[in-house]
């Protein structure tokens, strides 16, 4: 129900950050994100960052998907 897209933090301001979505750059509110760093990926919904994306978990999830898909049955 909720269109939300991950983007990369490229500049940090007071309570906001400039996000790069891949050739689209937009300022969003970052109230809900603790310890935001340049280079972090955050999930953006309705003009707000609502959660950080975990690179480790993304890699692990992808590994699982990949290995299950290649499993011989």
């Amino acid at each position: 129900m909720c269109v939300a897209i991950p983007g990369k933090v490229i500049e940090i301001y007071e309570g906001e950050s400039l996000i790069d979505f891949g050739k689209i750059k937009k300022r969003v509110n970052t109230f809900f994100i603790d310890n935001i760093q340049v280079g972090d990926y955050v999930l953006i919904h309705a003009g707000c960052a609502i959660e950080k994306v975990s690179e480790e978990e993304a890699i692990e999830t992808m590994d699982i998907f990949k290995s299950i898909s290649e499993e011989l049955w």
Binding site: M1, C2, V3, A4, I5, P6, G7, K8, F21, G22, N29, F31, F32, I33, D34, Y41, L43, H45, A46, G47, C48, I50, E51, V53, S54, E55, E57, A58, E60, T61, M62, I64, F65, K66, I68, S69, E70, E71, W73
Partner: protein, 364 residues
């Protein structure tokens, strides 16, 4: 786009689909598997990618009440339309709501008659609009689930801190897990497993869904929105149904934590309180809504303008109610593609791009 493109690897998804077909295809119409998703964005992704067409015939994908526009009561739209007729009001709304039919009109039609109705991307935009239009009352149409509610809460808090007095929210917020409980307990519906909404999950965590899964012995998977995520979730659900694994397995860990995002949850607690909510097609359900609490009551449109919401009837032929519960499909509705189309939607399932009927119509 990073974290999107990788999860659209066609090769991997196709292999997973093949596995589902090999392992879970039922013979002679037995071994039916009913899987429900409760998120309009999942509905969109399934139909856009044609996932439903690639699964074995015995796997039935059902769309539950996961589209906030679809489950918004018709009386809310009528009241919003009435509010738009007051020349002192500026109505700010997500675009999703513009063409939702009320009992007689839509916000789109009212705009063409001169109603001051603005499409906005973020509720936070209302702060700016209110500041620039001090002689007007800015009313935000607050619909959405837990993904959106914190953003609206933040907007209200900001308005409070900046002492903005010409802004309020006409709210109809709904929350997830309890409505799933209502569907699980409905004896007309037989769901074998749930695909859980990843972005609601990012806010409230996987834990509430996990509890539901254990309480009702139902397999669930917390899923992301790319085709690989969804297909994997379906694969795992089929396995979990077979093996009787009753839990909510989190397959969207890159975003969803077990406990959710504490800051969003705290903000929601600060601004809102739990209430009952009126779900189109499901009736009034306790503890499935959020309303603005007493501290921020001056930002509640209903309180500010002493609104009396009307009760309205919908066409008896409209099957939105059963479609939302997953009991019927759009093709079962006599109005589908005859009187009801995206151009002339009779019910919200057709007007919202996430609605089941709209997706069936567009992507058949």
């Amino acid at each position: 786009m990073k974290y999107i493109d990788e999860f659209r690897n066609v090769d991997i998804t196709q292999k997973l689909i093949e596995k589902i077909n090999e392992k879970f295809q039922g013979e002679n119409n037995n071994k039916f598997i009913n899987i429900m998703e409760v998120c309009g964005t999942h509905t969109m992704s399934i139909y856009k990618n044609g996932i439903d067409k690639l699964l074995p015939k015995n796997i039935n994908l059902l769309s539950g009440p996961g589209c906030p526009v679809c489950v918004t009561d018709i009386s809310y739209i009528d009241t919003a339309i009435d509010l738009s007729k007051n020349i002192n009001n500026i109505i700010c709304t997500f675009s999703d709501m513009i063409r939702v039919p009320g009992s007689k009109s839509t916000l789109e039609k009212e705009r063409s008659k001169g109603g001051n109705i603005i499409n906005i991307y973020s509720p936070l935009d209302c702060i700016d609009i209110a500041s620039k239009n001090k002689d007007k009352e800015v009313i935000f149409l607050g619909i959405g689930f837990e993904t959106t509610i914190p953003v609206v809460g933040l907007t209200i808090k900001k308005a409070f801190n900046y002492e903005i007095s010409n802004f309020s929210v006409y709210s109809s917020f709904k929350t997830m897990p309890k409505v799933m409980e209502k569907i699980i307990l409905d004896e007309n519906i037989n769901i074998n497993g749930f695909i859980c909404p990843g972005h609601v999950g990012s806010i409230i965590g996987n834990q509430p869904f996990h509890k539901l899964a254990k309480d009702y012995n139902l397999p669930m998977v917390m899923s992301g929105f790319e085709h690989m995520d969804i297909v994997y979730a379906i694969y795992r659900l089929c396995e979990m149904i077979e093996n009787k694994e009753f839990k909510c397995e989190n397959e969207y860990k890159r975003i969803v934590k077990e406990e959710g995002n504490k800051k969003t949850l705290n903000l929601m607690k600060e601004v809102f309180e739990i209430s009952s909510s009126n779900w189109r097609g499901l009736g009034t359900i306790e503890n499935t809504g959020l309303k603005i609490n007493s501290k921020y009551i001056n930002f509640d449109t209903k309180h500010k303008f002493n609104l009396k919401e009307k009760k309205t009837q919908i066409s008896s032929q409209c099957l939105c109610a059963e479609i939302l519960k997953g009991i019927k499909k759009p093709k079962d509705c006599k109005l589908f593609k005859t009187k009801c189309s995206p151009k002339n939607p009779m019910g919200a399932c057709m007007v919202s791009r996430e609605g089941t009927c709209a997706n069936f119509y567009k992507y058949e």
